[in-house]
Symmetry: C2
Subunit: 334 residues, 2 copies
């Protein structure tokens, strides 16, 4: 069973950890089955959040996926490593190095140092992510993590302050200003000349089901969809695409998806987010009380969308997967 | 009082910390004097030990000078930072990153990250060292630390194993193999095309006294002397050059100076080390029992050469300084 997911950071990682948990807890029922029942998960991670800090290449979404799926994430934060110290960052502050608004722990620094060294030696990001995936035991779980592209891409935010417009890095807007600085628009530097990383388009085309976790539809999934070829692959895939709304009652469960939607002029609702995916979306999980008008060709499933525990995330991911498998079976018999 | 010193790592740093301590403890006696009594110390640090590890530029001797003179050194080791943790290195090991034979603490890593970023932006090493010196309060102590050159220079060691010769980085030979791998010769990559860093030659020419701490005469002071112009500046300086032997009874107080001397075919004795400096050396401190034949133009002073405490180092450095000042006065009245 080949599943491909497009994912941002914390929300995507928790959803996918839930999916793996769901697969494990249902495995005994299928142990008599054949290998095709085994979950093979390809995760296409957003790299638009990537930023160079202190001369080191940091990939926040990719690392959150690695740490979460690998069992090393700081549960309370949802990002970064558990049991972290911050001695490198403290000394960088003593040295007057900027910025100081982005928290990097010591173990996390090692990831960035290693990645930067390999990138500096000319290794493509996808090969670096392969190495990091091995450290986190992802292949053993049937997980293949791919960055959306090997081309350096950076999401910038055009903000207006005191009547003047300037572009700042997405992370500065998101982390430093907590998305509170009025944003005019997003500009994704490098996206137009980016090519999908090796395996990305095939993973979408050849999946049994494609899942969209409740990641930010604008600055996470929206960025992945902007990689040339990705949207076409989704439209042309034989796999049904099933997504999970990141909004409950028009508000994001986590993060600032509402602000991002307003910035691009889209209503803050589950229905409007589904509209962003309308050219390929086949199934859509929304909260039990969210209004969701009927749409031809879109199967809507109502579920509690809070990932308050790994079990809850597994329930949600399992429901999305089951919907995808059902839609796939219906297509096959049609 | 302008003092210039050429220095390697631990031995040089302890000697110079002793010199500063000597200056402070004798300051009350000269407080009625004028500003010319104030110690202005320029330290020319060896950069031949520099190495790129994990993609980061590490300057072991420069950093030992910074940490020791700045009060942040690990006293027991003589290098690295006090109260260090090693979380970055542990995670790099988990990632399978090489090498694992060079110990880097977390606070130390911050220095290397910051330096590498600044170098990557095109800042010359001497300007980077200025920044690091400010963090460690060196200017406030009247200390100006200069790398011997801004040109990347690396000491390699030609070793023979199983009948085959190969060149390894000095640090690999020194740290990993503890200088136990038979060395054929030293090759200093980049030294022939290096130019002395801004201020180095002037600091030698215009000093009142030039000091050579008990640093390794081959791979520390010997490397600095190999920077084009340095040796000529020493020969042409108006300042007497006073050195301290790194050997006691033919053995190094610390490190592997004896092995280095053997490798270049020089006897392991204080007299032979003085011979390496014979074209400019005016004063020479040797251990009380070391044989030291009379040499015309060379004033020999016998002193205990163990820097077992800051006080002992201050006594030794004070004796070297006083000898230099006396030789200078004699030259002036000649």
């Amino acid at each position: 069973m080949r599943i491909t997911a497009l994912a941002g950071g914390v929300g995507g990682a928790r959803f996918l950890r839930g999916l793996l948990h769901h697969a494990r807890r249902t495995a005994p029922q299928t142990s008599g089955g054949n290998d095709s029942d085994r979950l093979e998960l390809t995760v296409v991670g957003n790299t638009g959040d990537d930023i160079t800090l202190f001369g080191l290449r940091v990939c926040p979404d990719i690392d959150t996926l690695l740490y979460t799926l690998g069992g090393g994430v700081h549960e309370g934060q949802g990002w970064g490593r558990a049991d972290e110290t911050h001695h490198v960052a403290e000394e960088l502050a003593a040295l007057g190095a900027e910025p100081q608004w982005f928290t990097l722990g010591d173990k996390d620094f090692a990831t960035h140092v290693h990645r930067s060294q390999l990138l500096g030696q000319g290794m493509p990001l996808s090969a670096v992510v392969d190495r990091l995936s091995a450290r986190w035991g992802l292949p053993e779980q049937g997980v293949r993590l791919l960055p959306m592209t090997d081309t350096p891409v950076e999401t910038h935010v055009v903000v207006e302050e005191a009547g003047e417009q300037r572009a700042i890095h997405f992370q500065e807007w998101w982390v430093r200003h907590r998305a509170a600085l009025p944003a005019e628009r997003f500009v994704v530097a490098g996206l137009d000349r980016a090519t999908a990383a090796p395996g990305v388009l095939d993973a979408i085309r050849e999946a049994d089901v494609v899942l969209l976790p409740p990641s930010n539809p604008v600055v996470s999934i929206g960025i992945i969809l902007g990689v040339p070829g990705v949207r076409d692959a989704l439209r042309g895939s034989r796999a049904p695409v099933v997504g999970v709304s990141p909004l409950v009652g028009g508000r994001p469960v986590r993060g600032h998806a509402d602000v991002c939607l307003r910035t691009i002029g889209v209503e803050e609702s589950s229905a409007a987010v589904a509209g962003l995916y309308s050219d390929f979306l086949a199934g859509w999980l929304v909260d039990e009380d969210d209004p969701m008008p009927d749409r031809r060709g879109l199967e809507v499933l109502r579920r509690p969308l809070l990932m308050s525990s790994v079990e809850a995330a597994a329930d949600m991911a399992g429901a999305a997967l089951d919907l995808g498998l059902r839609l796939r079976a219906e297509r096959a018999s049609a």
